[in-house]
């Protein structure tokens, strides 16, 4: 690292910086100094850093052009550590802090000596728009290879590869009036709205609010404008109904006045948020604002002039020159040539002169400019060349001269000889373009105004634009428009605003501007040195002309062909010039050509702010049962089922060795089949159904019959959509004549409840029935296996006699002293009891079961064992063995379909459509691999003829497949075309690795086909 340099371009006085303190920072490995109040850009300019980047496509050296969000070149990578890397930061928007470390985004190996510079120079002639596509797309398969290298050298910033030490969050805001922009218009609007008592939020993207008033030459009530700013901010800060958000960018404007604001809370302080009371505050925050009314006071961006060599470092926007001088006390050069088409640009020359630097000339495109500004410049002795423009900037890594010539805008020609003026800085102004990005996010197309030479926003309801954003530039008018917008917005939200007296603005009279969107060159555009339109994306005037010649007539197509306004730039600087050039080439007017659509985000937003607190442990809710702690303490591995964490299996450590999943599941399966196992089934959805029409409702919503289910009985039911396809299944118990408890699949709970409500509320409101979710109220423990009755008998007062408490009965009583409902249902095929207790008592009951269960070999099992056991019995899982295209008949479950029920229940009619009657539908069957060691892959495709040429006709697929320790064999369920009539036939499963498995179609019930074990 070399030694620090002096701030050669820092003026002795002026600016809103604190010269009493010095901050050191590093740019591209070089150490520099600046002051509090600087941006990284102003500090770089103060230190005379000309080249801040290499351009995206041609790798040309680039310097700072602007002073705000519209900066196209000074896009840097921040971060002194890997974890602290932040890409795509505009140096013009980054406040300087001690120790700031930045690098150029583009430029490999460095900006001064760039590998791609060579290509760029060659490409100067040979890289037309579409270059990459045309050159590298063939063969298409190689694009991925080229793209890697192009990206490496083009550089788009990079993400950190280590965990971000900072935190981020969201704040949900609601307000009556959201004011976007804290400049003259925004502050006036905020003041009016605030005084009405409305809830007001003011968001401004800069370090300080005040916008252009912070570096204005104009006075308010005879005082510098920033004094009025301070006074207004003080009043607003004192209002309880006002939230001021500096350093906050409105980055997206969404439907119904929903605006996202990105607030950078600590980025101006240090790389990582500094600790406060031992706690690290959030680095940045996304405010999600729902506003009654939105006021867009986003100002206007200056348009640069498009002339040859306008990208050489030292070409700046005129307004930016003024801002650097007046706000930061930095003169970014010594000898200035100003090229302008309007009066606004003159300000830069006056400021430059006042800073004690040389103004070589003002070159004005207008034939006879007159008025206050021109007089003021002439009075300062500045040479004004009229009817002319800078047609070309000379210089390599810095401007060395300007070639100035008379031009004719109408015929787009240079007249006579150009003269060369030595200078190191060229400031240009082509007028201002209202910042209409946010308004465009709503989908509303802007309107072109010839008098302004710009687009003004078209607004949806509930939003207004004022000041520069509305094409109003006179300070007095801007303030008045702001107040008017504030009053209107307040009134629209029911708040009457008292009068606001505005300060008297002293401004200079403006003369009319010339419509100059591209400066002609002696050579035609396609042969002239490059005239850049979009600096960030390296789009030239020639590129746009070429695009139109190649037949791209729509501006949206021109944009995509040339990349104009792409990416993080979103057309801030170049769009209007680009459209105007396209219009000229196409022989149309600008409004005929129209504008492209600006999209969120206005400027890049860090992912942290988008994610907020929804990351790491809080990425997604984890739902736990009342027994979760026990599972954790007993070493369960967990499976995600929806948002639930369910025990998957419980690996034991046997002889010092932890079981594999396969071993654990085999042990758990055998325990259930031979002794007893226990499952936490609390996640099953449970819906309490009450009402005199509950039975009728069940009869309509389930495929089977419910009219005769007695109190104390349980029934399994299938639920279809009205297209006849299985949607969910579960058991429903009759608790009382008008009272049922429905269970659903774990993942289906919320959907089923909404489904019941849908039918009740929209089709059958006359049925007297209510549905309430009781999923979380009950904990459910399933004990199952031959020893289940013995264990339960020890701790319950319920009579478990096999003939009085039969399969598919439920009884109430106490289990382990806790009131419980016990359901004799089985998903394993073994004797089983499902015990429901109020969840607060679950842990006690569970532990008591273990106290008594040890001697029976009570074994906890998880979802994997549950799956093996149910599949051995051919019990389906809705959503695994079915997929929304499977009818109950496809599943072979006609026994659960009541074809003769009087009401045409949901799904019935569809079962007689020709499609559902096809005999070659995919039907559920058992699949027995010919090799018992093979466990088929779930999802594997089934074919009838493995010798068929590829593509083979698919006959079905495997839906569930496991190893069965009971059968000591792999086995599977699957759906096969016409499978119900193919028992005993062989099917084939060609796998990706070239193997082909063979399997026999069998009954889906692999174990205890008569169902004797559950009835014992």
């Amino acid at each position: 690292m070399s030694q620090s340099k002096k701030q050669a371009n820092r003026l002795a006085k002026g600016g809103r910086i604190d010269r009493s303190r010095t901050l050191s920072f590093t740019f591209n490995g070089q150490s520099y100094q600046g002051h509090p109040g600087d941006t990284l850009a102003s500090a770089l300019l103060a230190n005379g850093v000309d080249i801040v980047n290499r351009s995206f496509k041609y790798s040309r050296p680039r310097g700072i052009v602007a002073a705000g969000a519209e900066e196209p070149n000074a896009i840097v990578q921040l971060g002194s550590t890997e974890a602290g890397q932040v890409p795509n930061v505009r140096a013009t928007q980054q406040a300087l802090f001690a120790g700031l470390t930045a690098r150029s985004t583009n430029g490999w190996p460095n900006v001064q000596r760039d590998m791609m510079g060579l290509v760029g120079k060659v490409g100067g002639k040979f890289m037309p728009p579409g270059f990459y596509y045309k050159t590298f797309m063939a063969p298409a398969s190689m694009w991925m290879t080229y793209e890697k290298y192009i990206r490496k050298s083009a550089g788009l910033g990079r993400s950190p590869m280590e965990v971000d030490p900072d935190t981020y969050d969201h704040l949900h805001q609601h307000c009556d009036v959201l004011v976007v922009g804290g400049g003259a218009a925004g502050l006036a609007a905020a003041l009016a709205a605030a005084r009405s008592g409305a809830r007001v939020i003011v968001a401004d993207e800069q370090e300080d609010m005040g916008g252009s008033l912070l570096d204005s030459r104009e006075t308010l009530d005879g005082k510098p404008a920033d004094q009025w700013v301070a006074q207004v901010l003080e009043e607003l800060a004192g209002c309880e109904n006002v939230t001021l958000l500096p350093r906050t960018t409105a980055n997206g404007y969404h439907d119904h006045n929903f605006v996202t604001l990105h607030e950078r809370r600590t980025e101006h302080l240090s790389e990582t948020a500094p600790l406060v009371n031992g706690h690290r505050p959030v680095r940045s925050r996304m405010h999600r604002v729902r506003a009654g009314q939105v006021i867009l006071a986003t100002g206007a961006h200056e348009r640069p002039l498009v002339y040859a060599g306008n990208d050489v470092p030292g070409n700046l926007l005129a307004g930016a020159v003024s801002t650097y001088i007046r706000r930061y006390g930095v003169a970014p050069g010594n000898k200035l040539v100003l090229s302008t088409s309007n009066d606004y640009g003159y300000r830069a020359a006056l400021d430059w002169k006042e800073a004690g630097r040389e103004v070589v000339a003002i070159v004005d495109a207008r034939q006879a400019p007159a008025g206050d500004w021109v007089e003021a410049a002439r009075a300062q002795g500045i040479k004004v060349i009229t009817g002319s423009a800078v047609i070309e900037a000379k210089g390599g890594s810095r401007v060395s001269a300007a070639r100035v010539a008379k031009i004719d805008i109408d015929t787009f020609k240079v007249i006579g000889q150009a003269e060369t003026l030595a200078c190191d800085t060229i400031a240009s102004s082509g007028g201002y373009s209202p910042v209409i990005h946010l308004a465009s996010h709503t989908g509303a197309r802007p309107t072109w105004r010839d008098d302004l030479l710009g687009f003004v926003p078209n607004l949806v309801k509930g939003v207004q634009a004022c000041g520069g954003a509305n094409g109003t530039y006179d300070l007095g008018e801007v303030l008045a428009e702001g107040v008017e917008a504030g009053v209107k917005a307040a009134a629209a939200t029911g708040h009457a605003a008292p009068a606001v007296s505005l300060p008297q603005a002293k401004t200079l009279e403006q003369g009319p501007a010339a419509p100059l969107f591209q400066v002609p060159h002696e050579k035609p555009t396609l042969r002239a040195p490059k005239q850049f339109v979009d600096l960030q994306n390296d789009v030239t005037a020639a590129g746009i002309e070429l695009a139109t010649r190649e037949g791209f007539e729509s501006i949206e197509h021109v944009k995509r062909y040339t990349a104009m306004g792409f990416g993080t730039d979103q057309g801030k600087l170049g769009n209007i010039n680009g459209m105007a050039i396209a219009a000229r080439c196409l022989g149309r007017s600008i409004p005929e050509v129209g504008t492209t659509v600006f999209r969120p985000n206005y400027t890049p937003v860090t992912f942290g702010a988008i994610v907020g607190r929804h990351c790491r442990d809080l990425f997604d809710p984890e739902r736990y049962t009342a027994l979760h702690q026990w599972h954790v303490e007993h070493g369960a591995e967990f499976e995600d089922v929806g948002q639930w964490k369910r025990p998957w299996y419980f690996p034991q450590t046997i002889n010092g060795k932890k079981e594999t999943m396969h071993e654990a599941v085999a042990r758990e399966c055998l325990a259930v089949r031979e002794k007893i196992g226990i499952l936490d089934a609390s996640t099953l959805g449970k819906i309490d159904i009450q009402g005199p029409d509950a039975r009728e409702f069940l009869n309509r919503i389930y495929t089977n019959k419910w009219m005769k289910l007695d109190v104390g009985r349980v029934r399994y039911g299938l639920m279809c959509k009205d297209d006849g396809m299985l949607m969910d299944d579960g058991t429903t118990s009759c608790l009382g004549e008008n009272h049922f408890l429905m269970t659903t699949t774990t993942g289906g709970a919320a959907g089923v409840l909404e489904w019941l409500e849908l039918w009740h509320q929209t089709e059958w409101p006359e049925l007297q029935v209510y549905f309430t979710s009781v999923t979380d109220h009950w904990a459910t423990m399933t004990i199952t296996g031959p020893e289940a009755r013995k264990l339960l008998a020890e701790i319950t007062d319920i009579d478990l006699d096999r003939d009085t408490f039969k399969f598919m009965d439920w009884r109430a009583g106490k289990v382990a002293g806790v009131p419980a409902r016990v359901f004799r249902i089985s998903f394993t095929g073994e004797l089983a009891y499902e015990i429901n207790v109020q969840a607060n008592y679950a842990m006690h009951v569970w532990k008591t079961l273990f106290e008594h269960g040890d001697k029976y070999g009570l074994t906890p099992y998880g979802t994997e064992t549950m799956h093996v056991l149910r599949a051995e019995k051919g019990f389906i899982i809705a959503g695994q063995d079915s997929d929304g295209s499977v009818t109950p008949e496809d599943l072979g479950m006609q026994w659960a379909v009541g074809y003769d029920k009087p009401f045409s229940w949901v799904g019935k009619r569809a079962l007689s459509r020709s499609d559902t009657r096809r005999t070659d539908r995919k039907q559920l069957v058992g699949l027995k691999p010919k090799d018992p060691k093979v466990v088929l892959e779930e999802g594997a495709q089934i074919v009838f003829d493995p010798k068929h040429a590829i593509p083979m006709p698919m006959a079905g697929h495997v839906t569930s497949s496991y190893y069965s320790p009971t059968l000591d064999s792999g086995f599977a369920l699957g759906v096969v075309k016409g499978g119900h009539n193919k028992l005993g036939e062989t099917v084939y499963l060609p796998m990706a690795d070239g193997q082909t498995h063979e399997a026999e179609i069998v009954s889906p019930i692999f174990y205890d086909p008569k169902g004797e074990r559950q009835n014992v």
């Binding site: 969050d169 969201h170 704040l171 949900h172 805001q173 609601h174 809830r199 406060v276 009371n277 706690h279 505050p281 959030v282 999600r288 729902r290 607190r613 929804h614 809080l618 997604d620 809710p621 984890e622 739902r623 736990y624 049962t625 009342a626 979760h628 702690q629 639930w644 996640t683 309490d688 009450q690 009402g691 005199p692 109190v711 608790l735 009382g736 004549e737 008008n738 009272h739 209510y770 309430t772 979710s773 009781v774 999923t775 979380d776 109220h777 009950w778 904990a779 109430a812 382990a816 002293g817 806790v818 009131p819 409902r821 207790v837 109020q838 969840a839 607060n840 008592y841 842990m843 006690h844």
Partner: protein
């Protein structure tokens, strides 16, 4: 009595019982309330929670008679009795949440059923499925703004209001029984996620948990 089954979940006193947050206290701890705590979280565990369904007029009379508290007259309404122990909250045009001290819910349900006789209504005990959290302290509202999409500004969320809304990535009922206190009614299965969320979001306010 309607043809619905009631179920008394009360047990002998000796049976251990666990609130929805039992695991969370064990896992995430309970940050102490200190002088810097700008938010204080307190669980009011093991209360009786009943869901009432039915027509407003019929239920209002019965609830008034049995509980001495009328149904809230407006959507999003919350009424609390003088002791602050019993409350009724509007959940939908035909649905209310009644919260009473733990152990009272069965008797309340039984008496309501007697009183309502053959009317069409439903009562479901959900006491095991949810718990109530209290938030107090000067930063409580900002903590809610970080977490919930609903507007909790006093002008929009006065005392006596309660809403069901999205909270972090789960759902919760947010209630405002008094000027100083906010309440959250959260589902048991989401309780740990929401507890961790509140501790994380509340860290900058030095959130403390009162037990």
């Amino acid at each position: 009595m309607s043809n619905a089954a009631t179920f008394d979940t009360r047990t002998d006193g000796a049976i251990p019982v666990e609130s929805s947050l039992a695991y969370s206290y064990h896992r995430s701890g309970t940050p102490r309330v200190g002088p810097q705590s700008r938010v204080i979280l307190r669980e009011r565990a093991l209360l009786g929670h009943l869901i009432l369904r039915g027509g407003a007029i019929v239920l209002d009379e019965a609830v008034r008679e049995v509980l001495g508290l009328g149904l809230p007259g407006q959507p999003q309404g919350l009424v609390v009795d003088a002791s602050g122990e019993r409350s009724v909250q509007w959940l939908s045009p035909d649905e209310w949440l009644v919260i009473v001290p733990g152990g009272e819910e069965f008797e309340l349900e039984t008496r309501l059923r007697e009183r309502l006789a053959d009317a069409h209504y439903a009562i479901s005990d959900v006491s095991g499925g949810q718990t109530l959290l209290e938030l107090s302290g000067e930063a409580a509202r900002e903590l809610l703004m970080k977490s919930a999409i609903y507007d909790v500004h006093p002008s929009h969320f006065p005392v006596g209001k309660g809403v069901t809304t999205v909270f972090a990535k789960a759902t919760a009922i947010i209630r405002r029984p008094s000027e100083e206190r906010w309440e959250l009614v959260i589902r048991r299965s989401f309780a740990d996620y929401l507890y961790r969320w509140l501790l994380d979001a509340g860290a900058e306010y030095a959130i403390g948990v009162e037990k």
